[in-house]
Subunit: 366 residues, 2 copies
Amino acid sequence: MKFTCTKNDFNNGISIALKAVPGKTTMPILECVVIEAKGDGIILTTNDMQLGIETKVPAEVKEEGIILVNARMIADIVRRFPEEDVHFEVDENNSILLFCGKSKFNIPGIDHEEFPMLPQIEVENEITLSQFTLKEMIRKTIFSISDNESNKIITGELFEIKGTEFKVVSLDLVRVSICKIQLKESYDHIKVVIPGKTLNEISKILSGDAEEEVKISFSKNHVLFEFGDTMIISRLIEGNYYNIEQMLKNNYETQVKVNKKEFYGCIDRATLLLREAEKNPVILHINDEEIQMEMNTNIGSMDEEVYIEKEGKDLDIALNPKYIIDVLKVIDDEDIYLYLFNSNAPCVIKNKEESYIYLITPIYMN
Amino acid sequence: MKFTCTKNDFNNGISIALKAVPGKTTMPILECVVIEAKGDGIILTTNDMQLGIETKVPAEVKEEGIILVNARMIADIVRRFPEEDVHFEVDENNSILLFCGKSKFNIPGIDHEEFPMLPQIEVENEITLSQFTLKEMIRKTIFSISDNESNKIITGELFEIKGTEFKVVSLDLVRVSICKIQLKESYDHIKVVIPGKTLNEISKILSGDAEEEVKISFSKNHVLFEFGDTMIISRLIEGNYYNIEQMLKNNYETQVKVNKKEFYGCIDRATLLLREAEKNPVILHINDEEIQMEMNTNIGSMDEEVYIEKEGKDLDIALNPKYIIDVLKVIDDEDIYLYLFNSNAPCVIKNKEESYIYLITPIYMN
């Protein structure tokens, strides 16, 4: 096996492949990348048994072949090479020689037979959308997945496609995030739960370019993302997702319009009075023209007013300030709308079109 | 007590004062800052019992007074305030009210009587140099202090002034760093050892401006740095520093001139083959026109050549690559000079003027 590629191309490819290399593992072979030289390039494959990545790097292949090598090791070496072409050579003993400029490395390779290659899947459905859209849908919902592994289903996100509507939902039992967009085409009904970790990693790889597309294919147990020279496969989470429709009501008592930046600044300051484990709420006293915010902890107290436009009744509600901040961070609108029912029902933050809906359960007040 | 200052001025002052606030301490009072409102400003004082800082912030003082408060807490609050003036008020119960825009915080203050204020010192000598020079002298030597507290003297740096020569030395028993400059004026002989921690913190506060001066005053047990509106006082380390003159010889067998960037790149790549705890040396085979570098570890092997200009004998020497990197990082010259005696004597890196001299003890080779 023998090939030459540019330092830059290899760097780009391996940095994508590294997203499916586990940090800590009891199976050291998963710390490896498969390098296959074939045709006009090399294919890098990694797999942490939940998430698998295959990405192609252009290369001048002089002798086809396949080898397994520690992924971080080879990434580090190539990254620190001088800015020249990198030559790879593997001998019959699986020993890997790397040349670049006057630098020469010799590191051991491993027979690739032992590596769990990516499964072939039977595609049942597929949709296409822009990389930008997918990245945004993930960013706007991923923060409210649960990390409680004993309730596996909510460690993932619901992806539901119905006609032209594409909906992503995440929830952790005290809050819910919903994002919706209209797709260009109409599709059959698809409803799957994708692991949060998969979406986090994909999000890092997606360029976020509105002109670049990503194809998502679904099989019974897997989802496949294809974009550029990269293919990412992930297991789905089995089970029925929570029915969120029943949580969404429209008979609110109070509607508030508030400037996002001012509201954010105020809540952010309130969190200063919290030590790490503390969960004291920020209390919102919603009056005609302002929300008067109030925070009391062992450290001290804070109060501040923010101007609002209000329709409906006055209301007091106690909320976890961190949950409000999580939502405000991902909303790009200048003004936001809060919808409230009473002091003990979830506070809803959504826009008029309902392209996003966030529910935050309040903290019980005497 | 009552005063008003700009958010920005307070931020600048408290960020300097925080450098003498310990991260962890068994004396919670040391996590506090003394705020004294007096005349046309406030004075912030912090003290971790080894290092003390006093810095002045311009303020409109409406009522003079003095109070103690948790330093990080007040820094965090003011940093997140809107960009407006900040009003401080302390009532008779030591309760602190902070107003900024529509935000209002109430946090407890503490009686300042309990705080260890900075000692008055009897100045015996003083020197003046530019902030740039002091910062550079520290940067070029601080990496080779020892962290071995059982040999206290080498956890600090020797500052020695003799006539117009100012010399800084650090060593950790396997390497030595020496920096020298000529001062504008001539001074009496001064020889003190300043704790490394002090120098690290001062280095972060110094602007590094060549036009700004810093005055350094010495007493029997303390050193005082004064610059801008800030005063930093530190204990000295007692004891006799190592005599380094006897380590400096000039009867070298081999002199090598090498491009710093190429040498650095090569040594840096070699370290990729080291796992954290490993101390394998990089072996330099010094020949007529090149150094052939060689590294062998459990992970793999590397070799690479770098062009040099050489005078004297061929020589092989094994060095800890991390020590070479530490030195190369702080040298700004394009080419560097190595001076060698034999395989078991320290490798010397210095410039012609000897404004810097670095000694690195080699690893014994069979």
